[in-house]
């Protein structure tokens, strides 16, 4: 009996697993090499490399001469960096609020079973197909005080009218905001519209029977139901904001003076213009920190929530 049992066990162990594990699914593993390299070498490796080198005093060339948090101290005492962060903060906050409000409003209006829906949608979305460089240059032209909006209003008889955001360091960031909103709201509108279309028709029927007004239905019923869509939109907008670069380069080149600088431009200029690598690495690490701060609650909601189910 014991012998037979042993025999069975032996057979089972022998057949339990194929002989060489690595060769199983080999094609799939080979096909995954680019993805694995991108994930590990580029996303993890390169980011890690930069973070490590942000603690060195690398100048023209990267070298592992560690100086602790010196680069960060220098960074946070640099006027240009502080202005960059302040600009990003103002731009980010306004962009977030306006994009969400305008995006949702437009989506809700388009969802009212209107005529020419496709035409309107096409109009609101086309700027999204254009690059930030093109966006920046067009709005640079429209906001040009000599020829653009300001001169037109003055020409209409309001001689003292002033609207020259690109030449006024106090409001230049709002000039960029106008262009950014023009380019990006269509995307959020599209996502919101998809979210609205995903809401059960019966909800609308139920609120109609209950006698709840349209605006109230949106505020009390629909928007709470669209929470995931809002979260998605929020993450998309936020991660886009941190990357803002081309728009500023094209529209103002950071000017007037340094009043419209942003962190991404600071990084590029220190790395490739002033060849102060350590400083550039510290700045880009700070950008990553900003993204992580934005992403943590989101990842927590997304992945932490799933585990509870």
């Amino acid at each position: 009996m014991a012998v037979t049992d042993h025999g069975v066990d032996h057979a089972r162990r022998e057949y339990a697993k194929p002989p060489i594990k690595i060769f199983k699914n080999l094609s799939s593993k080979i096909a995954a090499i680019p993805m694995i390299l991108t994930a590990t070498v580029i996303f993890i490796g390169c980011s890690g490399w930069t973070i490590v080198h942000s603690f060195t005093n690398s100048k023209l060339l990267p070298k592992l001469d560690f100086v602790g948090f010196d680069q960060y101290e220098r960074l946070w005492s640099s006027r240009r960096w502080l202005i960059s962060v302040e600009n990003l903060f103002i731009y980010g906050l306004c962009s977030l609020v306006f994009t969400l409000v305008i995006g949702f409003l437009l989506a809700a209006l388009l969802d009212r079973k209107i005529r020419f829906e496709n035409t309107f949608r096409t109009i609101f979305l086309y700027p999204f197909a254009l690059s930030f460089v093109v966006t920046g240059l067009v709005w640079q032209w429209i906001l040009n005080p000599e020829f653009g909006v300001q001169s037109i209003v003055r020409g209409l008889g309001w001689e003292s009218f002033t609207f020259d955001p690109l030449y006024n360091s106090d409001i230049v960031i709002y000039g960029i905001l106008i262009a950014g909103l023009w380019q990006g709201t269509g995307l959020i509108m599209c996502i919101m519209l998809a979210g609205l279309r995903g809401i059960d028709e019966d909800i609308w029927k139920a609120t109609k029977v209950d006698g709840i007004g349209t605006v109230k239905t949106y505020l009390v019923v629909i928007i709470p139901m669209m929470k995931p869509v809002f979260v998605t939109a929020l993450v998309l907008i936020a991660s886009g904001i941190v990357k803002v670069y081309d728009l500023v380069v094209a529209q103002t080149s950071g000017g007037p003076g340094i009043s419209s600088e942003v962190p991404a431009k600071y990084v590029y200029d220190t790395l490739f213009g002033r060849q102060n690598l350590g400083q550039g690495f510290a700045a880009s690490t700070m950008m990553l920190v900003m993204v992580v701060i934005i992403l943590i609650p989101y990842v927590y909601l997304q992945f932490g929530g799933k585990k509870d189910q």
């Binding site: 096409t122 254009l130 032209w141 939109a233 993450v235 690598l277």
Partner: protein, 306 residues
């Protein structure tokens, strides 16, 4: 006479509201909806209009006139100049050079990134192996990492590979940064294909590549188009990678456009600048207007990423 009495009896039987409810042609709500939509449309259309009219005026008219007014006399001179004569630094052969550079960057980048992403997405959906999901999640999170932090190390890698400042290097960079969104797109698409189809093909003796080429590819044309739209517009519109990883002779169109318009030398020729801007925006705009619904689908796919 009888007819009249007949009508009155019918009316007597059905008193109160009957038939379709009378509608007002312009209700307050409609006025608000269409009013808002039209005003917003003006904001979105204005820049396109300004670009077009400015690019069709001569400089004299630009200087004295209103930027919104249509050209008194249409001239295509600014377009010609923008395309073939505008100067960046020492080169004065116009945007055409940038256009062809962008085309040369675009075609291999799009082909390579879609090939790699589609195969990765296919593997992730049907041939999972231990750890494949981990790499995929890293890839997705990577999409949120600011490019700036990876710029310099990639310079080093490209230099080691001998690709720094070359077309090949930029193509590789576009492939890398196009991977998260496109892999996700393909993975989600292939995951929506019934598992049983995959099982049937395996019973029929087809392996990894046979199933990909013979079963999956023929039924996923739409998703390839969506991915292509994302990649073509994304790569064409790229500025940062072009400026970092190439050299002036092979700068893509966006970089060259910026250099033309924002160059400090010489007299500003706004009409030429706008023609150049329009020229650069033309490729993605054409794709946008042709692809219509598929473009929207690509955007929705991007949103799933969140």
């Amino acid at each position: 006479m009888t007819r009249v009495s007949h009508l009155t009896t019918a009316d007597a039987q059905l008193q109160g509201p009957k038939g379709p409810k009378p509608k007002r042609a312009f209700s307050g709500a409609n006025l608000f909806i269409y009013g808002t939509l039209i005003v917003m449309s003006l904001y979105y259309l204005l820049p396109l209009w300004v670009m077009i009219v400015t690019s069709l005026k001569d400089m004299a008219e630009v200087r004295m006139g209103n930027i919104f007014s249509p050209p008194a006399e249409i001239t295509f001179q600014p377009w010609v100049k923008a395309w073939s004569e505008a100067c960046t630094g020492i080169n004065c052969d116009g945007l055409s050079r940038g256009f062809w550079n962008s085309v040369r960057i675009l075609i291999p980048s799009v082909l390579l990134s879609i090939t790699v992403a589609s195969v990765s997405g296919y593997g992730l959906s049907m041939w999972k192996f231990k750890g494949s999901e981990v790499f995929f999640n890293i890839l997705l999170l990577g999409a949120f990492i600011p490019y700036q932090i990876m710029l310099y190390p990639i310079v080093i890698i490209l230099r080691e590979l001998g690709l720094m400042g070359s077309l090949g290097g930029l193509v590789l960079v576009h492939m890398i940064f196009g991977m998260p969104i496109n892999t996700l797109l393909f993975r989600n698409y292939f995951s929506s294909i019934p598992q049983e189809l995959f099982k049937a093909a395996r019973v029929d003796g087809a392996g990894f590549w046979a199933i990909f080429f013979k079963i999956m590819l023929p039924m996923s044309l739409p998703i390839f188009v969506v991915s292509m739209i994302i990649q073509v517009t994304g790569i064409w519109n790229d500025f940062l990678f072009g400026v970092v990883y190439t050299k002036p002779a092979i700068y893509p169109m966006t970089v060259q456009l910026n250099n033309i318009v924002n160059s400090v030398q010489g007299v500003k020729e706004y009409n030429v600048n706008m023609a150049a801007t329009l020229l650069t925006g033309l490729v993605p705009l054409v794709i946008y207007f042709i692809s219509g619904k598929l473009f929207v689908r690509g955007i929705a796919a991007g949103a799933v990423k969140g």
